[in-house]
């Protein structure tokens, strides 16, 4: 109760930002009102001038620790989600999980761990052609999207995972993918092709390592 702020506080916004306790209430209201994650930028746009949503979210997050709902980070955004241990209460809300084919699951994992990944890279890893339907399904689920084209001959399109993917799998960032570090350390995420053969995208080794992967997985 102590932080409760006079409701009229916001009217003074022309002069100064509302106290942080009040900002926390605002962020709370905004996050509760949205089923989708909300970015700090979105929050700032909706809150009075001078507010610091990042700080307010940090307080809010702390407040909801251990509660029935939690504040979670999803990429660059935040959302409130029910605590995972209470899922059993929600039979009514449970969404029928689409049964994904093995090909779709593996393709998704390869994109997540190797992103940005081209179709040729996915095929190289799985050793079979990726069907159009598999990619379409993942796109439709909004778990993957097109990334930047690769700067190799043919300028192939790449795929990367989306915020909805992170949200669905309770990941804060793509860096939190289970086992990512170990896989990387073991060299299993390197793009290595058959000795004496061209790379899946027709490029020499060095190029594959630069642009794309770096920005997402910088440590």
């Amino acid at each position: 109760m102590s932080e409760t702020v006079h409701p009229k506080a916001r009217e003074k916004t022309l002069f100064k930002a509302p106290p942080i306790g009040e900002q926390e209430r605002m962020v709370e209201a905004i996050l509760f009102a949205s089923a989708e994650p909300v970015t700090l930028k979105d929050m700032a746009e909706r809150m009075p001038l001078g507010c610091d949503p990042a700080e307010a979210v940090a307080y809010l997050r702390k407040r909801y620790e251990g509660r029935g709902v939690n504040v979670v980070r999803v990429g660059e955004a935040f959302a409130i989600r029910t605590a995972p241990d209470l899922g059993f209460l929600m039979q009514k809300e449970t969404v029928e999980q689409r049964k994904l084919s093995r090909a779709a699951i593996e393709t998704l994992a390869i994109i997540a761990y190797h992103q940005p990944a081209t179709r040729a890279e996915i095929e190289e890893i799985r050793g079979v052609a990726v069907s159009r339907g598999t990619i379409d399904l993942l796109l439709e689920l909004d778990w993957i999207r097109f990334g930047r084209r690769k700067m190799t001959p043919g300028r192939p399109v790449t795929f990367i995972v989306t915020e909805a993917f992170l949200d669905h799998f309770s990941l804060e960032t793509a860096r939190d993918l289970p086992g990512l570090r170990d896989l990387r350390a073991a060299g299993l995420l390197d793009s290595r092709s058959m000795p004496g053969e061209e790379d899946p995208d027709g490029e020499e080794e060095p190029l594959l390592n630069d642009d794309g992967q770096s920005e997402l997985f910088k440590e």
Binding site: R81, Q97, E106, L108, A109, H168, M194, G196
Partner: protein
């Protein structure tokens, strides 16, 4: 999350797998997947897998399939051919004169591929076992939409108005110049045309035979089509799809699909 699998199903699974190998090719997601399954029977760390033994297993499998008259998809046969080649290379002492990658490099790479595929498969399983939205965690049930009050104000100045008026009053006199393209065959068209037929051209064929129908009679159209087709062939050669040949200056140009 809860793991529904019985504790150690591997032995049974292996036996079932070994049996099903013979009949159920459809169960495999390609030759690499099959190799991965076969390698499990070696019960070793994938890094120490015997590629030679694995190659033999695979080739035996393919033989058996052939005996049983199971139609194997082309990529299984390609893999078989490659493994047969690798096997012979592995068995022979290395030839110091030979260039290209050594048998050990190739074997090591195959082992790497198997390890990588298995790692991705594990990663996928771990991913799918995470808390999932709509199953373990839930989003807000009643989201309030942010009502967007959009106020649009339009601006236009007197000058805009007058210019607009002048524009419509003087428009009749004006006809933008448009290039008449009726008799122009573009390079894009030529590329489309060639790409659709090149697959059937195994041997050297005169470029002229690629001219589209209806573009050979009239001189002007023929010239445009020839130029476009030639440009398209250069482009395809650059992309490594075809080869070009001309025996002498002004001699007919022939092309063929790059073998």
């Amino acid at each position: 999350m809860a793991d529904d699998d019985p504790p150690f199903p591997t032995q049974v699974a292996q036996r079932l797998a070994a049996e099903s190998l013979i009949v159920d090719v459809d169960g495999f997601e390609g030759p690499l997947d099959l190799l991965l399954t076969l390698s499990r029977t070696q019960k070793v760390d994938l890094r120490k897998v015997s590629v030679l033994a694995l190659s033999e297993q695979y080739l035996r499998f393919v033989d058996k399939a052939t005996e049983l008259r199971i139609e194997l998809a082309a990529d299984y046969l390609v893999m078989a051919a490659w493994l047969a080649f690798l096997k012979s290379k592995l068995l022979l002492p290395p030839d110091p004169q030979a260039d290209g990658p050594s048998a050990d490099d190739l074997a090591a790479h195959l082992a790497f591929q198997l390890e990588r595929l298995e790692a991705m498969r594990d990663a996928a399983a771990r991913l799918m076992a995470r808390n999932r939205l709509g199953r373990d965690t839930f989003a807000r049930g009643t989201s309030e939409d942010v009502t967007k009050l959009r106020k649009v104000t339009y601006s236009a100045s007197l000058l805009d108005l007058m210019q607009g008026y002048a524009r419509v009053r003087t428009r009749d006199e004006f006809r933008p110049y448009a290039f008449d393209r009726k008799d122009v065959f573009t390079m894009e068209q030529a590329l489309d045309q060639m790409r659709s037929v090149i697959a059937f051209a195994g041997d050297w064929t005169d470029l002229v035979s690629y001219l589209p129908q209806g573009w050979t009679a009239e001189r002007q159209r023929r010239r445009s089509a020839t130029a476009a087709t030639f440009a398209a062939s250069l482009e395809m050669a650059k992309q490594g799809q075809i080869e070009l040949r001309q025996s002498a200056t002004f001699a007919p140009i022939s092309i063929r699909k790059k073998p």
